[in-house]
Amino acid sequence: MTVALTGFNVAPQITKQFPDAVVEANDRAVVVKSGLLFKVAQYLKNTPGLAFDYLNHISAVDYYDYFELVYYLVSIEYNHSLVLKTRCDRNKPAVPSAVSLWRGADYQEREIYDLMGITFEGHPNLKRIALWAGYKGHPLRKDYLE
Amino acid sequence: MTMLLHPSLDLVKNIPAIAADWPGGFWWHWLVFTIIIIAFVLVLVMGYIYIERRAMGIMQARLGPNRVGPFGLLQPVADAIKVMCKEDIVPIKADKIVHWLAPIVAFFPVLMIFAVIPFQNGAVLADLNIGILYVVAISSISTVGVFMAGWGSNNKYTLISAMRSVASVVSYEIPVVLSLAGVVVIAGSMSLNQIVLAQNIPMILFQPLGFLLFFIGALAEINRSPFDLLEADSEIVAGLHTEYSGMKFALFYLVEYAEALAVSSIVTTLFLGGWRGPLLPPWLWFLIKVIAVFFVMVWIRTTMPRIRIDQLMALAWKFLFPLAVINLVITAIEVLVFPAGLPWLLILVNLAIMAILILLWSKLFKLGGGRIEV
C-alpha cells in the first residue's frame, strides 16, 4: 500500500532546510512558495528517506484568484507519495520548471502552459502542445471565452 | 555437353521438340510467341493477384475476395479496370519526364525475361545459348526504372525506397548469380531449354543449397516479403509508389507481380524440371509448378516480419555470399569427379552438406545490432 505522506509529515523537514518555504501544510498536501519550488523539489528528490524519484503527474487548477499547481510525487523505493503544491499569481503566472529533475515533467508542463497559460521558467522547449501556434487564449482557465 | 542427357531420354522423347521456327517462318514465330508471352504474363499476373489475396485471406482466418464474379475470380479484372480509369496525378515539383518514363523502364525488362523461358520443349521465343546470362542482365534493368521513380517523384519516402531497392539489388545479384552458376556447371549449358532437358532428376535435388540461396536472393531482388523494404507499408508509406496513381501505378503493380512470375518461372525452369512431368501436358506442368512456387512466396509473405536494411545487407554478404561460393566449389568438384553424370547418391550427400553448412552458418552469423552513435 502506498503510504500517502501528509503535509504535517514533510513540512517540518522542509522548513528545517528552507525556513520560509512552506506556506501551508494540511492533511493532504504541503504548499510551498513558487519561488522556492525547484529547490524544495530537488531536496525532496535527493534526500534519503524521502527519495521522490518518480513524478507521477503535474496538474494545475484555476481558483480565479490564483493558480494552484499540484505535483504528485511518488517514491518507488519507499512506496510513499506526497502532494506538493504551489500557488502563483494569476496576472503573471510563472513557476520554475522541474524538467531538469524529472524529465517526465516535460510534456505535462507544456500542456499546462498551453491550456492554462502558466509559464515554466527554464523549460527547454516551452511551446503549445495540444493546440496550435497562434491559438488565442488558454481553454482550461475558468474565464476562457470561446 | 551431354552429361545428363545420356541415361534415359524416354520421358523427353515422348514429347517431340517443337521446331525452332514454329509455326513456320521467323516472323510468325516471333509474332505468336510475343502474343503468348504477353498473354501469359498478363493473365497469370491477374491469377497471381487473385491467388495471393485469397490465400492470404485464408491464412489470416478470413475469406478473401469472393463477391466479384464466381469465387471472386473477377476481382483482379475489376481492380485493373478501376485503376486504369483513375485520375493520373503528377506532382508539381516532380521531374516529369523521369516520373513518366519510370514505370515503362521498370516494366519492359521484366517482360523481356520471358523471351527465354521454355513453355515446352523448344517452345520458346528465342533459345539463346546464353539464356541465364541474358536473364541476369535484363532483370537488373528494372532497378533503373525503380530508381527513376524514386528520384522523379520528388518525395523523400520514394527516395528512401529507391535507395533501399538499389542497394539490395546490387548486393543480392552476386549470391544469385553464383548460385545459378552451380546449375550451369551441372547442366553444362546456359540455354534454359538445354537445362530443362538436362533435368531427368530435378535440379533442386542436386542443388538444394543452390536452390535455397537463389530463392532467398531472388525474393530480396524482387523485394518480396520478408525483404519488402521497397514498399514497407509500415515504415515509408507506400515506398516507391507513394506519388503514383492511375495507370502508372497499375504498371508498377504489374511489375511487382510480373517479377514474382519471372522468378517463379526461373525457379521452375532451373530447379524444378521446367515443363517436364508425367501424364499432364508440358505447359500445364509448367503452370502448376510456377503457381506452386508463387504460393510459397505468398506463404512467406503472410508469415514473416520484415528485416531491416542493414540486416538485409549483412544477410547478403555474410550469409548468402560465402555459402554460394562454397556451393559452387563443391558442385564443380562433384562434376569433375563424375564427368559421366551425377549418380543419385550425390543427392543425399548434397542434402547433408546443405544441412551442415546452414547449421554452421546460423551459429556463426546472427542478425541484430544496428545502432549508430549520433
Binding site: A133 | G72, L74, D79, K86, E87
Partner: protein, 204 residues
C-alpha cells in the same frame, strides 16, 4: 562517424507558426458545411443510352475494388479495423487493400473525431486522392462532432472540410453498420455516371 551540421531552411518555430496560420485560415473559411455531392441524382433522367454499358462496367469495377485510404484518427478506427479483420472481413468486397498512400485510394473512411489542428491535413489527404473518390463519414463525431461537438477544438463534422457521400451514425458504429454504409456507397456508385459520359452531357 562525423556528421556535418546543416541548418534547415525553416526553423521548428517557424514551421509551427506557418502551420498555425494555415489552421486559423481554414477554420475561418469553413464555417459552413459543404453540400453533399449528389450530382448523380439530378441527371439520372438524362442517362445516355449509348454509353450505359460502358458505364455499367466502369461503375462495376469501381464499386468492386474500393481501396480505402489508411486513415485512423480516433475511436472509430478500431471498429474499422475490426471490420477489416477476420470476423467481419472487408476483404470479401475486395477492400482489404488499405493503401497507405492517398494517391491510390478511392475511399476515405473518416473514422473518428476531427480537430481543427488536423483539419488542414485531412483536406490535403482528400486533395491528394485521385478522382474518382468517395468519403464515408463514420461515427457521430465525423457527422456532427458528436459527443465532443461543444468542445473548443473539434470540427463539427467532416463536411465542413470535405464533401461526404455516406454518413454512418453510431458512437462508434458497429461493423455491421459500416458494412451497410459501404453497401450504400456501392449502390450510389452503381447509379453514378462516368466522367466520359458527364463530359458528353455537358457538351451536348
Amino acid at each position: 562517424m562525423e556528421i556535418e551540421k546543416v541548418t534547415p531552411v525553416y526553423s521548428a518555430a517557424e514551421l509551427d507558426r506557418i502551420e498555425g496560420q494555415e489552421i486559423e485560415e481554414l477554420r475561418a473559411r469553413s464555417q459552413q458545411p459543404i453540400p453533399d455531392p449528389d450530382r448523380w441524382l439530378k441527371d439520372e433522367v438524362q442517362r445516355n443510352i449509348l454509353l450505359t454499358s460502358v458505364d455499367a462496367i466502369i461503375n462495376w469495377s469501381r464499386r468492386s475494388s474500393l481501396w480505402p485510404a489508411t486513415f485512423a484518427p480516433a475511436c472509430c478506427a478500431f471498429e474499422m479495423i475490426a471490420t477489416a479483420a477476420s470476423r467481419f472481413d472487408l476483404s470479401r468486397f475486395g477492400m482489404e487493400i488499405f493503401r497507405a498512400s492517398p494517391r491510390q485510394a478511392d475511399l476515405m473512411i473518416t473514422a473518428g473525431t476531427l480537430t481543427w489542428k488536423m483539419a488542414p491535413l485531412v483536406k490535403r489527404i482528400y486533395d491528394q486522392m485521385a478522382e474518382p473518390k468517395w468519403v464515408i463519414a463514420m461515427g457521430a463525431c465525423a457527422i456532427s462532432g458528436g459527443i465532443f461537438a461543444s468542445s473548443y477544438s473539434v470540427v463539427p463534422g467532416y463536411n465542413r472540410i470535405i464533401p461526404v457521400d455516406v454518413y454512418v451514425p453510431g458512437c462508434p458504429p458497429r461493423p455491421e453498420a459500416l458494412l451497410y454504409g459501404i453497401r450504400m456507397l456501392h449502390n450510389k456508385i452503381t447509379k453514378s455516371h462516368s466522367d466520359i459520359q458527364l463530359n458528353l452531357l455537358h457538351k451536348g
